[in-house]
Amino acid sequence: MSVPKELKYSEEHEWVKTEGEKVRVGITDFAQSELGDIVFVELPEVGDEIKADEPFGSVESVKTVSELYAPLSGTVVEVNEDLDDSPEFVNDSPYDKAWMIVVEPSDSSQIDDLMSAEDYEKMVSAD
């Protein structure tokens, strides 16, 4: 299971990558392996407001549909439209090709509340 050190993590298995004033968001390698083969990804639109801990979209795998929970509040400024045609990126490349949205956080201090790679690894191995 891959947990890149430079990323931050939420309890709902999203990763967050800081890029200047913005953050890029996706789901973790652990999450994709639990979900199984992803067949559909539903994402918000550019301009939508998302709220921390509330659903911003969903991923559908062969066995289940799961909600995606926002790791922080802010405005969606970019959406990965490649996932419409290639949901398999979520399984094959969760940290790279399968980024889901780019968000402009309403308050950048929210990022500090997220987990480090170490803490996230501890959380999932405790499960």
Partner: protein, 493 residues
Amino acid sequence: MNKEQKLIFEYSKAGRTGYSLPELEVPDVDMDAILPAEMQRTDSPELPEVSELQIMRHYTALSTRNHGVDSGFYPLGSCTMKYNPKMNEDSARLKGFAHLHPYQPDYQVQGAMQLMYELQEELKEIAGMDEVTLQPAAGAQGEWTGLMMIRAFHEANGDLIRTKVIVPDSAHGTNPASATVAGFDSVTVKTDERGLVDLDHLKEVVGEDTAALMLTNPNTLGLFEEDIQEMAAIIHQAGGKLYYDGANSNAILGIARPGDMGFDVVHLNLHKTFTGPHGGGGPGSGPVGVKKDLIAYLPKPLLVKENEAYKWDYDRPESIGRVKPFYGNFGINVRAHTYIRTMGAEGLRKVSEYAVLNANYLMRLLEPYYDLPYNKHCKHEFVLSGKRQKQLGVRTLDIAKRLLDFGYHPPTIYFPTNVEECMMFEPTETEAKETLDEFADAMIRIAKEAEESPETVQEAPHTTVIKRLDETLAARKPVLRHEFSKKEEVYQS
């Protein structure tokens, strides 16, 4: 072995027919005189051209591939795949029921109306409700009907801020879906370590915007929500209503009633609990019962009895309107009434006692071999987790596929979603102890295979005509149409 694999289209040969039509007995009509040219099709439809015998063999072969309760054990959790007594079929085929036309005037169909009325009375008694409608065609429509009534109730009170419906994280997927379709937002309440609704979390999410709480009791983990009265008080104090999803009522017949637990609206799945054939065998039926303060909003017309006669009451200005043409799935309602009357009150209580006994017996047989996340008495169903097998590289999906080799329908899998690698078993009351023992033997053998020869499970099924399908490819790149151009190439070769 039955090796039928072709589609009916693949048997087609141009010009072959399985019928011969008699000479036309009515005057021929000139198509051009009645339809403009652009509305007429010029090529014939691409239907398979086969002989009667080819059709018979094809469909007879396919029919033997069905798995139903009459052919084998079917422990699909939350679906109550119990035996459907054949006496139900006799009743439904009585001429006075089977040959009715829905537009016949009331005075000609008093017998059918009497049956519907009596069924309503029976369901009121069983669920502890004040009035019942038989209109909803199945469970999900019952949910929607109930929520629309709750919405009408709040709107009539000028209570327009009640936009939220609370559903547990273990709820049937139809609950949040029905809430959304009825115009509400759904809010999730968590399950605690007991496997029951987390009361503290419920207190957090409830508020002045709460329209209703939807609950299955026993819940989808097969556990009775023992705090139900306290939950009802929390919701009622906040001004919300309680909705009972009747999918799991096979556990409580004659023992506990949703109405007594504090529920305001109930749907019952007659095709599950009351032996309507389902799972490809027939339509559903999802009558909804309500307490007094919601009666005004029931779908119309409402069936009423006046001076020993039955009639439809259309004068119901606050009704949410019709939810289904005519009077519900009448044929299924005849079967449910037959079942209720043949079982009687004592018999229905035994149904639930045996359903619970069978589930607990099977759960304890399997407990040493699979992880049991909630180790206590269950009601009519229970969940196991495949997480021990997952450590060995065998997933719950593999276990389900391997069960096909033993001739069983698998349990419900990956649901409820709050249990890892979940398997949900509902054996029902109609199975013999020997059947449960044999099924447990198969499950135990699979658990051993997972340890000793995991590939046997991972590559299952082995004995079915079609082996493991690529479900991922089918979902990602579905082919939804038959390619006729390819057909030509195949048949000319």
